[in-house]
């Protein structure tokens, strides 16, 4: 009886909320670089000039570390949501994008040949600066 009353109360006075995740793949910023695009990269062989020729200008140049970063943002998930207030005969709905940030990091040696490279995803709550520091520090 008590549960029924609570449910009735929530239904009349409260808000019913629902959401549905929708897979997506929309590049919203930068140029996406696929795994195939970086097949030409070879450690110790590929030069900076070769990289610029194949991939174009990088998004970020960190001169102190001789590092190029290509950056692109992708919406990989959209969440459609609806909130209904039955008691008020009212409803509202929307779609929220969940973006992901990707980076292709290429570090060169003193002779401007590829030393390290990695295509990676930036952790959600990490700044690019922190990520670059960590990435360079691990190599």
């Amino acid at each position: 009886m008590r549960i029924t009353r609570t449910a009735m109360f929530l239904f009349v006075a409260g808000v019913v909320f629902g959401c549905v995740p929708i897979p997506s793949h929309e590049v919203t910023s930068g140029r996406e670089i696929s795994d195939e695009d970086v097949l030409f990269l070879e450690q110790g062989l590929s030069t900076k000039g070769h990289v610029l020729e194949r991939l174009g200008d990088p998004s970020i140049i960190w001169g102190d570390e001789n590092l190029f970063a290509y950056r692109w943002d992708v919406v990989e998930l959209m969440v459609a949501w609806i909130a209904v207030a039955p008691g008020a005969y009212d409803a509202t709905a929307g779609v929220v994008d969940v973006p992901s940030k990707y980076l292709l990091l290429i570090q060169f040696d003193e002779a401007d040949r590829v030393k390290h490279f990695e295509r990676t995803k930036l952790p959600t709550f990490m700044s690019i600066g922190d990520f670059l520091r960590e990435w360079v520090g691990q190599r």
């Binding site: 200008d57 998004s59 970020i60 140049i61 960190w62 970063a69 690019i128 600066g129």
Partner: protein, 259 residues
């Protein structure tokens, strides 16, 4: 290095504001005739709104804090002085900093190492050395040595998050702040813009056009200003900012003192 502190803002301004607020409070005190609670509430609520606006307008300067000054003296931070001049279609200047400390006639954002150079993330708090310099468009930032991108937008007329996101595509200028310099003058930025008159008086920058923007070297004026308000902090250096049109951001890790 001398340890003299910069001069504080004009004391008369704060006193005048307090008096103004006090007189407003007296006017708004509930009178005998205001018996209706709803009317009283509405009156007080309106008064509160006016007070908040007045307080915002009264707080016109924000000098470097003691901690910031200590960091500057220890070469960990630098005061970066910038002047922004916006000229309307009629050739008359539109004051870029006239209304508020956070949401002024112009919005500023700075991209740094952490953001990968892109000037998004937060709206920069504008600070001033004096009321006079604020009227003339002078503002300053406290930054570590490194590379930065200063982006500008006209006054905010939308949700804060959308406004901040748009800084990524706003006109921007490259700043290279050298190490071990207490004060850097980064130039005077002359822009053309459109004016929007407000219903209750005053105007804001409705639109800025950076196509013909020019960075001018007014180091004599900058020196005069720093001599007056930042006396004792040491020498200043002029490193003019440059318009950044490329999609590539050059970043340099902020460095501490090289001494």
């Amino acid at each position: 290095m001398k340890t003299a502190r910069p001069q504080m803002g004009k004391p008369g301004t704060a006193t005048a504001c307090v008096l103004h607020l006090a007189s407003l409070l007296t006017c708004l005190s509930p009178s005998q005739s205001c018996r209706d609670i709803g009317a009283r509430f509405a009156l007080w609520f309106s008064g509160l709104g006016i007070l908040v606006n007045l307080i915002g307008a009264c707080a016109t300067t924000e000098l470097p804090s003691k901690t910031e000054l200590a960091d500057i003296e220890a070469s960990r931070n630098t005061i970066v002085l910038v002047r922004i001049v916006v000229e309307g279609p009629d050739g008359k200047p539109i004051r870029p900093f006239a209304n508020s400390l956070v949401d002024d006639n112009l919005g500023l954002a700075v991209g740094d190492f952490e953001s990968g150079g892109v000037p998004t993330g937060r709206l920069e708090r504008v600070r001033f050395l004096s009321n006079e310099s604020r009227d003339q468009g002078w503002t300053y930032l406290v930054l570590q040595s490194g590379t930065y991108y200063l982006a500008l937008q006209a006054a905010r007329r939308e949700h804060l998050s959308s406004y901040i996101a748009r800084f990524a595509h706003a006109p921007r200028w490259f700043l290279d702040i050298p190490a071990d310099v207490p004060i850097v003058y980064a130039g005077s930025l002359y822009l053309s813009g459109k004016r929007e008159w407000l219903i209750l008086g005053g105007d804001v920058v409705e639109h800025i056009d950076a196509t013909h923007a020019e960075v001018r070297d007014e180091r004599a004026l900058a020196l005069e200003l720093t001599a007056k308000h930042l006396r004792g902090l040491g020498p200043s250096k002029t490193t003019l900012m440059e318009r950044h049109l490329s999609d590539t951001f050059y970043i340099r890790k902020p460095t501490e003192s090289r001494q």
